[in-house]
Each structure stands twice: as C-alpha cells, then as structure tokens.
Symmetry: C2
Subunit: 240 residues, 2 copies
C-alpha cells in the first residue's frame, strides 16, 4: 500500500494555488478591471479551474515525491500445538486487510506445497522454519505484512528468521498446555505421552520459550478478535 | 505500486470545486455584496483555500475509491544454459523498477537458500521449478512483478507454473546453442559431450521448446537492454 505524506500534500496545495490564482489573474486582466464583469469571470473560473485542477491531479499522479510505502512487519506467532496460533493469525490478517494493508498468512498448511515438511527432528524443523523465514523475508521486502503461525519450538531457527527479516516481531502464544491438550481432538498429546508420536514440543521435546517476545497472548482468556486487535495495534500506531 | 484512476481525479476535482466555491460564497456573503471588498476577499481566499485544499487532500488520502493496483505479471525466461537469461532478467527488473513498479528477480542463485536444488534428474528439476513457481505466485498475488530466469527445460513444470499464476508470460530466450557453447567458460557443454556431466538440456537431454511463447528473444543479435525494453513494453502498454 502507498500513502501520501503531509509534505506531499503541502507542496501540492501550494502548486495548485499558484496555478489557480495565476489563472484568475489572467482572466481578470483579459476582462480589464470591470468589477461587474468579475462576477462572470467567477462563473467562468468555476469551470476553467476544474479543468486545470484535473490536469494538475493527473500530472501529480506521475510524481513520486512524498508517496511512501508503509513499513511492513513479519509477525511471527510461536507456541505449542493447539495453542490457537493459526486462528489468531487469520484474524490478524483480516484486520490488516481491513486497514488496506497487504498481508499474507503463512502456516503449515499454506506452505506445504512449497516445501513438503519431511520430518519433525530438530534439524528438519529448523531447516523448515528457515525456509519459511526466507519466503517471509522476500514478501516483507516487497512491502507485504507476513503473519506466520508455526510451532517453531527452537530458538536457533527463530533467531535466524529474525536476522534475515527487516522487522521481525515475535508473538508468543502461551496458552496453557492443559488448554492445548483439552482442545486436541486428534489425540496428539495422548499419543505423544504414550510414545506413539515423537518430537511433540512440550511433551517429548522442549519448547524453547521466547526470551523477549514483543507480546504474550493467551486465547484461553480472550477472544482471537481481541488478541488480534492488540497485536495489530502495536504495528499500526506508526501508520499515517 | 498504486496509481489513481481518471475517475478518482474527476470526482476529486468536483468535490474540491464545490468546497472552494462554497467557501468564496460564504465569504462574499459575510462582506455583503460590496465589489471593491470582493478584491480583498480574493486576497483572503488565497490563504483560506490553501488550508481547505490541504485538509481536503488529507481527507482524500484516507479514501480508497479509484486507487488501483497495477496488475503484475510473472515473466518467465526459459532457455538453454548460457543463453543469457539471468542478465536479461536483471535488465528487465531494472527497467520495471525505473517505472516505479515492484519487481523481484528469481533465479538459480537467489533461490538456492530457499530450496537447495538436490539434483538434475527430470523429476528433481520439475519439483524445483514447481516450488519456484509457487513462490512466484505468492509474490504476484501481492502485486509484485516476478522475473524468473531458469533453464526450465520441461513443458510439464512450466505449464504447472502457468496454471498457478494469474498472469504467466513465457519468454523464450532462444540464443543459438553454438553461441551458448562459445560463451561457456566453465566447459559445461564439453563435459556433457564427454559424458562427464549428465542431464544438460540440448546435449544429453531434450530441451522442450515453448510452444507459444509471448516473445522469442536472442541476445546474440541484440543487447540485453534492447531485449529487456521489448519485454517490458509488452507489459506496460496497459499501465496508467
């Protein structure tokens, strides 16, 4: 998205006024100082200035000065399985779109086409997250907000993503593990406890908590809409 | 990039004129019909209208009506090794940027981070091209021109990319193979002929020529700048 700076509008205002006043002065000069005629000048001016204004607008549409791109962010949601990351992320994307911003949601499901996740070992997960991070950085570079929702349990790959993005913002979805377990209709947590599923963060392997997330959220206490609003607010304070 | 439609500028012109004329009429009413005073009204008007115009501009910056996004394209350069794809692609990206458009160059080197190319068999190459195509489609979806330069010798994966992109445009870089061989300082063509390198399109495996490319270019006859200009022209005729 682009928006116009106040400097742009100010310069445009001055350039318009100079044009408009010169137009009026030229007309008055042609009609030579008769004030009753000045009224008809006004009448003509209404239409003539509309034409001039329109051409002025078209000319300004070609000028880049003062047209600024909104600085996007990579909003990275990390948290346990079933903590609610994807649903919150979807809500964040929706709210960003409502503000007229460009936003893309990346999560396990949407990026599966791009890089089929081959496994869940530490190395494989790190590799996967790094590739997603690369995609995120490419989108961010082009002015797109990225909302990524991945368990991303390891500090190593999260820090890698932070480094390659310009404006990485870590959101820790720290819904209590008991809530995540209760929500888990697929029985993943039970299977992990029985050793039937390996590498489940919080059960068989450690989930490395974010050290300094920009915000911690928990959707067992607030609605996704409320949480998304909080997150979006943090990144839109500096917008126009 | 965004640009403004003529409809937007027209509506803006009318709304401004209504505002400006109402302002003048209100002033003249306050000063009551004395025409010599009308001149000083004009003097005041210059400054007052500047303020009104400025606020009017700021208000319009919040209005989405008539602000359109340029429709991007995925410009896909296919051709033999050393046909000059990357250099032409770089030149295309440069010219798109000069027009104020967003553009990203994807080629073997830039996407290596994202998906390390594991091999050069038919299946592996097809897989690789499909992933690149997915990345291209994501960028295109967000309003970014993508210029991709890959040998991409197989119709299957090129057609896959065509399908997932909204505006896929195939550019066939058909520099004669003799020229490609002469340029090849790494000796890849010689090695392939001796059987030391496998799967080199045009030597050990077939390069499947594009059936109906939007344009065929050959940089043994024209400069990259000239070729890029031709390609860019095809996609910018419909711009503003």
């Amino acid at each position: 998205m682009t928006y116009e700076t106040k400097a742009r509008s100010l310069v445009k205002t001055i350039s318009w006024r100079i044009l408009a006043t010169l137009t009026t002065m030229a007309l008055v000069y042609i009609f030579i100082g008769d004030m009753t005629i000045a009224l008809s000048v006004g009448g003509i001016e209404v239409f003539l200035k509309m034409l001039v204004y329109f051409l002025h607008e078209r000319a300004w549409d070609k000028i880049k000065f003062g047209k600024k791109e909104v600085k996007p962010a990579v909003i990275w949601l990390t948290g346990l399985v079933r903590s609610g990351k994807s649903a919150i992320a979807e809500e964040i994307v929706k709210q960003l779109h409502n503000k007229g911003l460009k936003a893309e949601h990346l999560d396990g499901h949407t990026v599966r086409n791009l890089f089929p996740e081959t496994g869940h070992t530490r190395d494989e997960v790190n590799e996967h997250i790094k590739r997603v991070g690369y995609l995120a950085s490419k989108l961010e570079e082009q002015g797109v907000f990225v909302v990524a929702s991945f368990v991303s349990p390891f500090k190593e790959s999260r820090e890698f993503v932070r480094k390659i993005c310009n404006n990485y913002q870590e959101v820790y979805v720290n819904t209590p593990i008991e809530t995540c377990e209760n929500r888990d209709e697929s029985g993943l947590y039970n299977k992990a406890k029985q050793g039937l599923v390996l590498n489940l963060p919080g059960v068989n392997i450690n989930y490395e908590e974010p050290v300094e997330p920009v915000i911690k959220i928990d959707n067992s206490k607030e609605t996704n809409k409320e949480l998304a609003f909080k997150v979006v607010k943090m990144f839109s304070n500096n917008l126009s």
